[in-house]
């Protein structure tokens, strides 16, 4: 919609811009890694839920 203008970039769009538009794979990789770190808690929760369900 805004194409990330007016400070509406999210991590994923910024990642895409850095990696594929600016061709800066280093910054792109770093942003992707931040994305991964952000989902680690979610990962823990989903594993916890799955184990609880299996035990039931």
């Amino acid at each position: 919609m805004t194409g990330g203008r007016f400070d509406t970039d999210v991590v994923a769009t910024l990642f895409f811009k850095q990696a594929f538009v600016n061709q800066d794979f280093g910054v792109g990789s770093a942003l992707a890694f931040i994305l991964l770190l952000a989902v680690v808690p979610l990962m823990a929760v989903s594993i916890r839920c799955f184990q609880a369900e299996e035990a039931a």
Partner: protein, 378 residues
């Protein structure tokens, strides 16, 4: 289920209808816009379309616009194999996770659960770098420039399959694991290999889950823009989503072509969805409620008589086993217990009387057509 849905309070209906209308607005606007002449689109809003002259020329023009036909074929060439690959690999993996004990199984399963939440953007740069190194540059007739790697159908099939697998394996494993153990054990006792059990027992029972998964995977792959944008450099291989994006940037103001092309792109998932809908809804429900209802039915013996060469084995048996009832026949040796079961299974004929399973008379039906099994324990 149906009763509780009917009894749902009015506010719930209002909310559900409201959400449905809200979600339909973009689609309806797209449809309206695809029939409006270019001047009308640029000068007035879609809500003013009532009463103005509509045109049918956008759709054919949109379809002919820069490589749309090729893009449509590309979308199918990418989506159909990617969907089939996910189904095949995920079903095999899910069977192993559910019914084949092997070392490290639980750890691997937890890994799959963990991968469910990893965003696919994570993988784009590494995959692109790897593909860049292993691209096999061979000209393929109809299939583009490369056999493998960047800008090849095989490369994007592999990527879409890998992205779809964690959810697919997770969904199917839960479905397979909920199937009754007795079924698998019965097949194993009959000497069936894992391969046979998988194809002859698991797959036929899992059609709802497989159909639901096929729809999800088809929609995701068909609607994907990001993966195609990154991994398909060759414009000859661009799917609809990519081609429509290019249309926006190259035509700029030609909104009417854009809407028409987008509507053509939407048509295919709609057809797929409605074709598989009845399986899909069932599949989602089955996945949500763990468990599986075994087929039960009333069994009725109506004045059944059986003689073996003048020896009366069963004399005027009249017994009804109601649906879901668990019944034990106890008696001394030679009193006709086995004969009764053999007559029910169709292994022995009946001299007089009738046998019913559910409301169907079965004593003149061949054993294999009675949908009943007999397990002998010695």
């Amino acid at each position: 289920m149906a009763a509780s849905a009917r009894a749902a309070p009015a506010p719930l209906h209002v909310v559900v209808i409201g959400i449905a209308v809200l979600w339909s607005v973009p689609t309806v606007v797209l449809l309206i816009s695809s029939f409006r002449p270019p001047e009308a689109i640029t000068s007035t809003g879609w809500w003013q379309a009532a009463g103005e002259a509509l045109t049918l020329s956008n759709l054919p023009r949109g379809a002919r616009a820069a490589g749309m036909g090729r893009a449509f074929a590309n979308s199918l060439l990418i989506t159909v194999p990617a969907t089939l690959l996910v189904l095949l690999v995920a079903a095999a993996a899910a069977y192993a996770f559910a019914w084949m004990p092997f070392p490290g199984r639980n750890a691997l399963l937890l890994l799959v659960v963990a991968l469910l939440v990893v965003p696919l953007q994570m993988t784009l740069i590494p995959v692109l770098r790897i593909y860049g190194h292993i691209t096999i540059d061979v000209e393929m007739p109809m299939l583009g420039r490369n056999l493998w790697g960047v800008s090849s159908y095989t490369g994007i099939w592999a990527a879409h399959t890998a992205y779809g697998l964690p959810f697919a394996v997770f969904l199917l494993r839960n479905f397979f694991a909920a199937l009754p153990r007795d079924l698998i054990e019965a097949a194993q006792l009959d000497g069936a290999s894992d391969w046979t059990i998988f194809w002859r027992v698991i797959i036929p029972l899992s059609v709802p889950a497989l159909a639901a998964l096929a729809i999800f995977q088809f929609l995701w792959t068909w609607n994907d823009l990001l993966v195609a944008l990154v991994l398909l450099g060759d414009p000859q291989l661009a799917p609809m989503t990519l081609q429509i994006t290019n249309l926006v940037s190259s035509f700029g103001a030609s909104c009417e072509l854009l809407t028409a092309a987008a509507f053509i792109s939407m048509a295919v998932p709609l057809v797929v969805f409605f074709a598989f809908q009845r399986f899909s809804v069932q599949g989602i429900l089955v996945g949500a409620t763990k468990g599986w209802e075994p087929a039960m039915a009333r069994v009725l013996f109506d004045h059944v008589i059986k003689c073996f060469d003048g020896v009366l084995a069963v004399n005027d048996l009249e017994i009804e086993v109601i649906d879901g009832e668990f019944l034990v026949l106890v008696g001394p040796s030679g009193c006709g217990k086995s004969t009764t079961l053999r007559m029910l299974a169709g292994l022995d004929d009946v001299n007089e009387g009738a046998i019913y399973i559910a409301d169907r008379r079965v004593d003149d039906v061949a054993a294999k057509d009675r949908d009943i099994a007999m397990v002998i324990q010695t």
